[in-house]
């Protein structure tokens, strides 16, 4: 491959938008071409800086209000028709039945919601607190020491999942144990060039994914990956046996998904 042909493939590699064949070709070229490899690193860094620059940019509250109060998008009033009395009674009965169902179902839904949502969403809040330096962490001399320390902190009941993120210049620098609704989360913190990635391991099931998460099925690994976001933090979750693993970062979801898929 010539360098002139490599530029666009380098860009697509940064965005994880290549077919397997293209990826193999450009990765082989980068191993032997230092100038294209430099362009790759520069584009990766630039994308990371752009992501960081826009992460805090949110729609103003006034805009939300303006849209909601926009007369043009208010729902149309339903057409009132003259209905016979028996239909009105039937409608009232239906409404009462629905109301009863809601009353009965709400506590169940609430229990399900409080049991399911917080752990996966809390992971993202923990990520923000870690980045802000509000969480006390365990530092270790090596990745193995850190893993061992976290493993011992839950009395050996499960071990943290680890990733090799050296290809994107990230290494495990610290860890912490967090508790959400009585469940222990082992957190490994990866840091390096331009980003912080936190990895959460805990005992759970796929129902721990937020109901609104996007699901991606990896046909090769036969694993479901769940992607979701909260307050500018992106996350990808998957299950291995009885363990749930969540990767969280401000990195784009597509990159996190690629990390989770290709490093598990």
């Amino acid at each position: 491959m010539k360098c002139e042909e490599a530029g666009e493939l380098v860009t697509a590699l940064v965005d994880n938008q290549l077919s397997a064949l293209e990826r193999a070709a450009i990765e082989a070229h980068l191993k032997n071409c230092s100038s294209c490899e430099l362009v790759y690193r520069q584009q990766l860094a630039l994308k990371s800086e752009i992501r960081r620059a826009v992460a805090d940019l949110k729609a103003p509250v006034t805009l939300r209000k303006k849209i909601l109060n926009d007369r043009r998008i208010r729902p149309r009033q339903p057409v009132v028709e003259n209905r016979p009395a028996w239909r009105v009674i039937f409608s009232l009965r239906s409404a009462l039945a629905v109301a009863l169902l809601v009353v009965l179902a709400l506590p169940v839904l609430y229990v399900m919601k409080t049991d399911r949502e917080p752990v996966s969403v809390s992971a993202l809040e923990i990520h923000q607190r870690i980045v802000r330096g509000e969480v006390s962490v365990i530092k270790a001399g090596s990745a193995e020491e850190l893993k061992d320390s976290l493993y011992r902190s839950v009395a050996g009941s499960f071990a943290p999942m680890t990733y090799d993120l050296s290809k994107i210049h990230l290494k495990p620098v610290a860890g912490t144990v967090q508790e959400v609704n009585g469940r222990k989360l082992l957190v490994t913190i990866y840091a390096g060039a331009g980003a912080t990635v936190t990895c959460y391991t805990f005992l759970g099931m796929e129902a721990d994914a937020p109901p609104t998460a996007d699901r991606f099925y990896d046909t090769n690994k036969k694993i479901n990956f769940y992607a979701y976001s909260h307050d500018g933090i992106n996350a990808v979750m998957h299950r291995e046996g009885n363990l749930i693993c969540i990767l969280a970062s401000t990195m784009p979801t597509s990159e996190l998904l690629a990390l989770a898929r290709f490093t598990t």
Binding site: E8, A59, L63, R64
Partner: protein
């Protein structure tokens, strides 16, 4: 409100003033809700909204020339602007520098020629896939890829000027 922050980020980088970004997003939601029957099942909602936003921008804001003028710049290969920029949040001074860098990045994106600016805004700011960006821009996927490459090179060149000026100030 679904995808509001994403759309606002895209609009913010398209138009000149934040107020215009708000108007553009508001108009986008109005159009979307008045033509929701055109939304095809299976289409990514965020991409559909972004396409409406892009078309509105193209039809109105672009015609009114309410965006910054652009200057062509040559591309200088082999220089890494990160060498002169502090990397981590290490205190108030670093926060100010990071904020300044964020503003510079936003300004630099706004000043890119439109053909390169749109793919960068959609892919890097809006987090759209190449296929979605191609659909929104009504162009081939290969065009998105080549314009992204060229656009990022231009952007890096412009941030280089900023980083060098900062470096001179410190000396």
């Amino acid at each position: 409100m679904l995808h509001l922050d994403h759309l606002y980020r895209v609009a913010f980088h398209l138009v000149k003033e934040p107020d215009q970004a708000q108007d553009l997003v508001q108009e986008t939601y109005t159009r979307a809700l008045s033509s929701y029957e055109q939304f095809a099942t299976g289409t990514h909602l965020k991409a559909w909204l972004a396409k409406i936003l892009h078309n509105l921008f193209f039809d109105h804001y672009r015609e009114a020339k309410r965006w910054l003028s652009v200057e062509e710049n040559k591309v200088d290969e082999g220089w890494d602007y990160r060498e002169n920029i502090p990397r981590e949040n290490r205190g108030p001074e670093s926060d100010i520098l990071n904020k300044e860098l964020s503003n510079k990045i936003t300004d630099a994106i706004k000043k890119l020629p439109e053909e390169f600016r749109m793919p960068i805004i959609l892919v890097d700011v809006g987090d759209f896939s190449y296929a979605e960006a191609a659909e929104i821009l009504s162009c081939p996927l290969g065009t998105v890829r080549s314009r992204l490459f060229r656009g990022r090179q231009l952007l890096r060149e412009r941030l280089k000027d900023y980083a060098e000026a900062k470096s001179k100030q410190r000396k």
